[in-house]
């Protein structure tokens, strides 16, 4: 009954007087910026495509190729994913969309320490930015998922996040005629029924289209010597120095080496230690370990840390010079990563690091949120 009512609402709003077969919303046949359309599929093209990386690992220095990328989606899959991403119909109460916690206006985060899901449930970790997720090999702070399709099921079905179920999700979407037509446009075999894997693939397609590789840092990396100010260059040299060692884990060009590291960040006050990857791998030596996040657009994604422990970048970089294991709770024996040491960075050096991190900002290809979504529900923001 509820689904039917919602579907009628869409048609009433979007296409008054239209024939029954008209779709209120169509799908783009163009690839997003940074993609070239080849044989109907979108292939990533960036200045980094001209470079190699050692053993194709996508880690190195300035002129280094990127890690393997998830592309080859069709423009329609990507655009369908965009509608789904902003549509709160995907949640159990019709109020939370992917974009609620991954807001494009906030660099695909929610600017909160930890996020809030359906019915005010608190999520225990910080919502990561989605810029450049198409390059990632593992997902979530603890690295437990290994594809975007696997990842999207976490928030969709997490009781504290979007709180829906696999059955309910497709029942909802199949009950919305506009989605029936859109899914059929993107996936011919969805004509019979929308399946869960269609939803995952469309969301994966949209998320992998979020590419940010045109920052001022990138200009410098491509050989534009004056793209960075003297302070920023000083920051770059501190960043890649073996004293600060930032680049050893936040390795260019993606500014992550995609590994799990135990660095001993503090928890928000009053919270017990989050075991992170240690609980996933059942490996005591990974207790307190988290996936190294990319620093692309990091100046826009405060607060920082797996639970948003640090309000500013300045506080975050200062953590690394606070002493090896200085924030580890008493009684915990964490195997702190060898790159966490006593770099004794000066206040000025910390300032310069923050200056440099600001050069990783680029949102030139930020997608437009739809003005209306197929469910007809209000788009959260």
């Amino acid at each position: 009954m509820r689904h039917l009512g919602r579907a009628l609402l869409v048609i009433a709003i979007a296409s008054p007087g239209a024939t029954a077969t008209a779709t209120p919303i169509g799908l783009s046949d163009r690839c997003p910026a940074s993609f070239e359309q080849r044989d109907g599929r979108c292939r990533l093209r960036t200045a980094y495509s001209q470079y190699q990386s050692l053993r194709n690992a996508g880690v190195g220095g300035l002129k280094t190729g990127l890690p393997p990328f998830r592309d080859g989606f069709t423009p329609r899959e990507i655009d369908l994913g965009r509608y789904l991403f902003f549509d709160p119909a995907l949640s159990s109460n019709g109020k939370v969309a992917c974009s609620s916690c991954h807001n494009p206006a906030k660099a695909f985060t929610d600017s909160r320490g930890t996020s809030t899901g359906v019915a005010g449930h608190e999520v225990k970790r910080n919502a990561p930015s989605l810029w450049n997720v198409g390059f990632l090999q593992r997902f979530f702070w603890d690295g437990r998922a290994h594809s975007l399709e696997e990842q999207v099921q976490g928030p969709l079905y997490g009781a504290a996040e979007m709180g829906t179920t696999p059955v309910r999700l497709v029942a909802t979407l199949n009950g919305i005629p506009a989605y029936r037509s859109l899914f059929t446009l993107a996936f011919p075999d969805a004509a019979a029924a929308i399946r869960n894997d269609h939803v995952y693939r469309a969301l994966a397609a949209f998320e992998s289209s979020l590419v940010s590789l045109n920052s001022r840092y990138d200009l410098y990396a491509q050989g534009v010597g004056d793209a960075l100010s003297p302070h920023e260059l000083e920051g770059l040299n501190i960043f890649r120095s073996f004293v600060a060692r930032c680049a050893e884990c936040h390795t260019p060009p993606l500014f992550t080496n995609q590994q799990v590291a135990v660095i001993g960040m503090p928890e928000p006050s009053g919270r017990p230690l989050d075991p992170g990857a240690g609980a996933i791998a059942n490996e005591p030596m990974l207790r307190g370990g988290f996936k190294v996040p990319s620093l692309r657009n990091v100046a826009l994604t405060a607060p920082y840390g797996h639970a948003g422990q640090f309000a500013t970048l300045r506080e975050t970089v200062a953590f690394y010079t606070g002493g090896r294991g200085h924030a580890v709770p008493r009684g915990e024996q964490l195997r702190i990563h060898w790159h966490i040491w006593e770099p004794k960075l000066s206040e000025q050096e910390l300032d310069r690091l923050v200056d440099f991190l600001g050069t990783l900002t680029d949102e030139s290809f930020r997608p437009e949120p739809p003005t209306a979504v197929p469910s007809g529900l209000p788009v959260p923001h």
Partner: protein
């Protein structure tokens, strides 16, 4: 067999009087097979490039350029900023206080030494690294580098490099550290007082380390998560550990294989381990000549390995290293390690507790030339009976490959390829990765459609190239275009030419 942590953070009692031990111990020299020795010596000469010369040379493909001279009181970085690919920055004697970074290709940074006067980069214990480079074809030569907090010379993804004839003392982390590099030569350097590895080849391929003297460091030479590396003709003494080759877990490149350690002197590496707490090398027991941890296809041949108080060679898996966090994506075992003919003498005279326990279990009072702990398959030693060994139960006596003489070097015949595409390909990349953010083929986005621009500039790519360098606002209903003057003239022309040829993308295949 006790597989428990053989190498641990346990600090062995400081070596009080090495000389005393030396005198007390009988000199045990593994009796080499005469045939093996002479074969090895003959081929060693055959692969040499001449008396005293290096066995390897590296072709950088570097173009010839001009020389920019830097005098004392001037900044080396200013000369680097002015240099073009192919140029040489020539540094005259004097003391320089700066970090030099080279983010362009084919630059040589070469010191001029007058008698005892070196060009010296002095970090005064407050600067981070002395030389950082990311370009291909970088050469760093004839510099004295002292007192930096981090590394003396560090490369990040710079291929085809040469680092030689440098004298490096008292670096806080590494002396010479190429990372993510392919094809590089490190030779004739002297390094001492380095608080981690003096020469550290990290996550690199095709590297040759020869004729270096490393002493008084935590580790002499370390080859980690790297492939096709030869370490030969080096002198490693008085370090805590002499020559190491590891797979360190938790790094993005997870293999080490095809490493040859040959013709080195690995002598009396009994220095107190002064590595930073938590560092991997802080777990290296003082007194160890060579350590192979988890690395595969390592050949140790024709070295002189003597007077290392803990052990001559340790071959270990990850589990046996107490401070190693496991990595499910990295193979923890050393496989197909070959210990060929080497001269061993007087090793293992004061082993750590864990090795002592192995000795008790093996009913021997002799410390080891060669000890293996943990897993690993396909390992061999040329003549097991000739050495003092521990834990070699699964090792074969006799190796299929008995000499590395057929492998002169793993350096590439031709330099790793340059990083520049043809202009037309770069034009396409720039169009797709930059222009397309605002210009779609036939749809209005932030800027006017490409189709409209094509009509305006038909046959005139130079017109676009000139306009985008310094755009003026042309249309009331569009925002001004951001200038693209940072692109070189030929790139602007390339992208303009590409833009004029862009056609409507084909729609996706019809629904089936």
């Amino acid at each position: 067999m006790n597989k428990k942590a053989i190498v641990s953070l346990v600090v062995v009692a400081v070596l009080a009087a090495a000389a005393g031990y030396l005198y007390a111990r009988r000199s045990v020299v593994a009796a080499p097979q005469v045939a093996a020795q002479s074969t090895s010596a003959g081929l060693a000469a055959a692969r040499g490039a001449g008396a005293g010369g290096s066995t390897a040379s590296l072709e950088t493909g570097r173009p010839a350029g001009k020389i920019i001279t830097v005098k004392a009181g001037e900044a080396i970085q200013s000369a680097v900023a002015a240099a073009q690919p192919g140029d040489t920055v020539q540094v005259l004697p004097g003391t320089y206080h700066e970090t030099v970074y080279i983010d362009k290709d084919d630059i040589a940074l070469v010191g001029v030494i007058h008698g005892a006067d070196w060009p010296t980069l002095d970090g005064e214990r407050k600067r981070n690294d002395a030389v950082l480079y990311s370009g291909n074809g970088i050469r760093v030569e004839n510099l004295k580098i002292v007192n930096f907090k981090g590394n003396a010379i560090m490369g990040q993804a710079g291929n085809n490099f040469i680092i030689r004839h440098n004298w490096i003392a008292n670096a806080g982390v590494y002396g010479i550290f190429p990372e993510f590099a392919q094809n590089g030569l490190i030779e004739h350097n002297i390094l001492t007082g380095i608080e981690d590895a003096a020469i550290y080849v990290g996550m690199s391929d095709n590297i040759h380390v020869a004729h270096n003297e490393v002493y008084g460091n935590v580790a002499g030479i370390e080859v980690e998560n790297s492939r096709h590396v030869i370490v030969e003709h080096n002198l490693a003494y008085d370090n805590a550990g002499g020559i190491l080759t590891f797979i360190t877990p938790g790094l993005p490149i997870k293999t080490t294989f095809d490493v040859i350690i040959r013709d080195n002197f690995v002598v009396a590496n009994n220095h107190k381990n002064f590595g930073a707490p938590g560092s991997i090398v802080s777990g290296v027991p003082s007194g160890t000549g060579v350590i192979v941890m988890a690395a595969d296809d390592v050949i140790i041949e024709n070295n002189v390995i003597r007077d290392n108080k803990n052990a001559g060679i340790i071959v270990a898996d990850h589990k046996s290293f107490a401070n190693i966090t496991p990595d499910p994506e990295a193979d923890p075992n050393p496989d197909r390690v070959s210990v060929l003919w080497n001269l061993f003498a007087n090793n293992g005279y004061e082993p750590i507790t864990e090795i002592k326990a192995l000795m008790v279990a093996a009913l021997t009072r002799e410390g080891p030339d060669l000890v293996a702990v943990g897993g690993g398959t396909g390992n061999c030693v040329l003549d097991k009976g000739a050495l003092k060994t521990l834990g070699l139960g699964s090792w074969a006596s006799g190796c299929a490959k008995t000499s590395t003489a057929d492998i002169a070097t793993y350096l590439l015949d031709k330099p790793a390829p340059p990083r520049v595409l043809k202009a037309e390909d770069r034009g396409k990349l720039i169009y797709s990765s930059v222009c397309a953010g605002c210009h779609a083929y036939n749809v209005r986005m932030i800027g006017p459609p490409t189709q409209v621009i094509q009509a305006m500039y038909a046959g005139n790519p130079q017109g676009i190239a000139d306009y985008i360098a310094n755009p003026t606002k042309k249309r009331e209903d569009f925002p001004p275009m951001p200038p693209q003057g940072h692109l070189s003239a030929d790139l602007r022309l390339a992208v303009a030419t590409y833009m004029l040829g862009v056609s409507q993308p084909k729609p996706p295949a019809a629904a089936n």
